[in-house]
Amino acid sequence: MTSRERTSRRVGFGFRILSGVIDFIFAVLLALPLSRTLGEWFAGRAVVMLSIGSPDTLWTGPIPMALGAIGELVYVLPLAWLLILMPEIFFGAAAGKWMLGIRILPATSVRLRSDRTPLVAGFVRWVVKCAGLLSMTLALVLGSGVAAVVAFGVSVSVLAGFFVTIQPKSDALHDRLAGTTVVR
């Protein structure tokens, strides 16, 4: 453990939510140019995945209509968000964490200690944290309604796991599973 790591403080709920919001804003900004290219293809896949226009689809009503109207942006957003969060694997911080001066480190406590290298730990953390986004992107690529339901369940589980486990003095679910911690 370096002296810098020893002097770092674990980051609590507020900073992490804020970094998530910043990442989301960057994801939307990235989705804007992507909507002109990949977005149209993803919107086409969403038509298959959600059976849009089919008589037996459940994807009806004003909210699906509003989302569908900007479908090229909405349905490429999971991929854009994944890309925005990808630096967390390699550099320990994506845009939000970098701007707030916080970063991911391998855990040093007994409870969270991991034998994984930082890169592997970062990858495991990214996969767990982004499980909902990954499964939603996969569901879109496959055009599978079942996969979309699974993706939704995974997203809710990951989000619930984050809120249930994160405390001022403890790590979020994906940190616990990956053996990482987020420090300032």
């Binding site: 810098r4 960057f26 900004l29 990235l30 140019p33 992507l34 002109r36 290219t37 990949l38 149209e40 919107a43 086409g44 969403a46 038509v47 849009i52 226009g53 994807w59 009806t60 009503g61 004003p62 699906p64 209509m65 509003a66 989302l67 569908g68 109207a69 900007i70 479908g71 090229e72 909405v74 349905y75 890309l83 925005i84 990808m86 630096p87 390699f90 550099f91 320990g92 911080a93 994506a94 845009a95 964490k97 970098w98 001066g101 970063r103």
Partner: protein
């Protein structure tokens, strides 16, 4: 001051540059398919559309609907219209709009707009209606096209948003106060006579 890696922002910049570069090669966004057609040259007469029109719009993809009403009046050599579209289902309530247009070579060309909805234009040639529009903020539904048929008593048509996941549906309207046995030409002629 703690050292921060320079790689996250560089990665971000590279990502946005790549996405931006890909956009340069993307086809231009805009209405695809049925843009406003120019008037055909045959001698079809335009139905009398003056009156109060009542009807509904219905998105048959997302099962959302509302009412519409328009009042169309002659305005010297042209016509003007005003009306409302009920967007309560979308949380916008009833939005007011206006329209205006004139006849050019057997075609009635018109534009329409509503502050909180968008704007567009169309052409009525004989009984055939075609046009397009753009739904702007706050809904931002994007470009749409429409086509249909219009008589002096009724109008029906279909609209299509150009996004692959965009809505599509139909509009049906009835002229509740048609100007009976009065041709558009005679209305215009009447106004011309008034000027003389």
């Amino acid at each position: 001051m703690r050292h921060r890696s320079k790689w996250p922002p560089l990665f971000l910049i590279a990502l946005f540059l790549a996405a931006g570069a890909a956009t340069l090669f993307a086809p231009e966004a805009g209405p695809r398919g049925a843009c406003v057609a120019s008037a055909v040259g045959d001698d079809r007469t335009i139905p009398d559309i003056v009156g109060t029109w009542e009807g509904t719009w219905e998105d048959t993809i997302y099962m959302v609907s509302g009412s519409m009403s328009w009042t169309i009046s002659p305005d010297r050599y042209d016509y003007i219209g005003s009306g409302t579209i009920d967007l309560t289902a979308l949380g916008l309530g009833a939005q007011e709009g206006s329209a205006g247009g004139g006849i050019t070579r057997q075609a009635l060309e018109f534009t329409y707009e509503a502050n909180s909805v968008g704007s567009g234009n169309g052409v009525l040639t004989g009984n055939s209606l075609v046009g397009d529009g753009l739904v702007t903020a706050p809904l931002n539904f994007g470009y749409f096209t429409f086509r249909g048929t219009v008589t002096s008593e009724a109008a029906e048509g279909r609209f299509f948003f150009v996004s692959p996941t965009g809505g599509a549906g139909r509009v049906t309207m009835t002229n509740t106060t048609p100007v009976e046995s009065t041709s558009w030409g005679s209305i215009k002629a009447g106004y011309r006579n008034d000027d003389e």
